[in-house]
């Protein structure tokens, strides 16, 4: 693909990430399906008073989010855009660091494969959860 098209996608994915990422952050804060907005009250000692049931990052809360189609699709979209944006970004940085036809080809392929792995792995989580996984 022509570099100009790649970069256009880079910019567009960037903007989408901005929107979706903001939503993502909202999902665990203002819009969280729980009245307890405490993010981090996990404790590694027994003196903790928390029940592990009410906070935004608690298992039940997170699974609830994952189970809604709306949030599930948002995460999947975000993941898609991020993977492209990031691995293309890495490709740019690396090919500027190691310029040359052969090295760049290698970098492009490595980035493609790595991107695919992350994408499949992340999608697996999202899709399984959407299909009612977890619990």
């Amino acid at each position: 693909m022509k570099e100009s098209k790649i970069m256009l996608i880079q910019y567009i994915t960037g903007i989408f990430i901005l929107v979706l990422g903001a939503l993502h952050f909202l999902a665990i804060s203002a819009l969280a399906p729980t009245s307890d907005k405490v993010l981090y009250q996990y404790a590694n000692n027994s003196t903790s008073t928390h029940t592990l049931t009410g906070g935004t990052l608690y298992y039940t809360t997170v699974t609830t989010i994952y189970h809604t189609l709306f949030w599930g699709s948002i995460f999947e979209l975000l993941l898609t855009f991020l993977v492209f944006h990031i691995f293309n970004g890495f490709r740019i940085i690396l090919s500027e660091q190691f310029p040359g036809d052969r090295s760049e080809k290698a970098i492009t392929y490595i980035m493609l494969v790595a991107g695919l792995i992350i994408f499949i792995w992340g999608s697996k989580t999202v899709v399984t959860m959407l299909l009612g996984g977890g619990l």
Partner: protein, 268 residues
Amino acid sequence: MELMLKGFGEVVKTVTLRVRRYDPEKKELPKYMEYKVPVQRGMTVLDGILYIKEHIDPSLAARYSCRMGICGSCAMIINNRERLACQTQILDLGKDLIKVDPMGNYDLVKDLVPDLTKLFRNHESIKPYIIRQEEKVTGEFLQLPEERELYSMFTECIMCGACLSACPTMATDELYLGPQALAQSFRYIADSRDIGFNERLNLLDSKHGVWRCHFAGACSDVCPKGIDPALAIQLLKGMLAKNVFVKYQQKPAKIGPDRKSILETAQS
């Protein structure tokens, strides 16, 4: 009125020039050497270097020619910033120790002399000439002053190469076309006489073309002629991005009034 040139022609103070030396024949790594130079008002760093060459250490090598900031020979890194040596007043630097390095991002030939092959090659590769069907010269192409303004700032590039030395992308990517060549391609594309956008497109849009600029702005910041290569590159990117959707059209300038009477007498 007589005070106008006060301090010219008399030694005001002595400064130390700390120059990075490298001699490929000596099999040593580059090292710094210090030279004490008496300074008069009006003395430039280039004058300082010439003083060293003539009076202290003749083996110091540097490029220079016009000594008026137009030939572009003498760009070097003075106090950590790319400048033209012949245009930098020693006293204006306001320091008693002046560090002089050769430009980076080029191979180093000797001392302050970089190998600018890369710069010239990149410049040549973007086809820096008017591209259009050869026509018989019967008069000038008409170009309004406003049209001229659209590219004329980039014609002032003296090919000193300072921008390539300052560009952080160039610092790692030696295949990058570099701000100088990209600004020149914009200069020709924006010239109303040229219709070569499509001929240059492939190179500009290649893996080491315009998109390797991430707008660090260092090129525009150091350019000793005040050219704004960063601007040219961003405008180019805009053109290329639009070109993905709507093909970019260049309308060639028209030929002006026929000047046969003066042009044809010449042929005889």
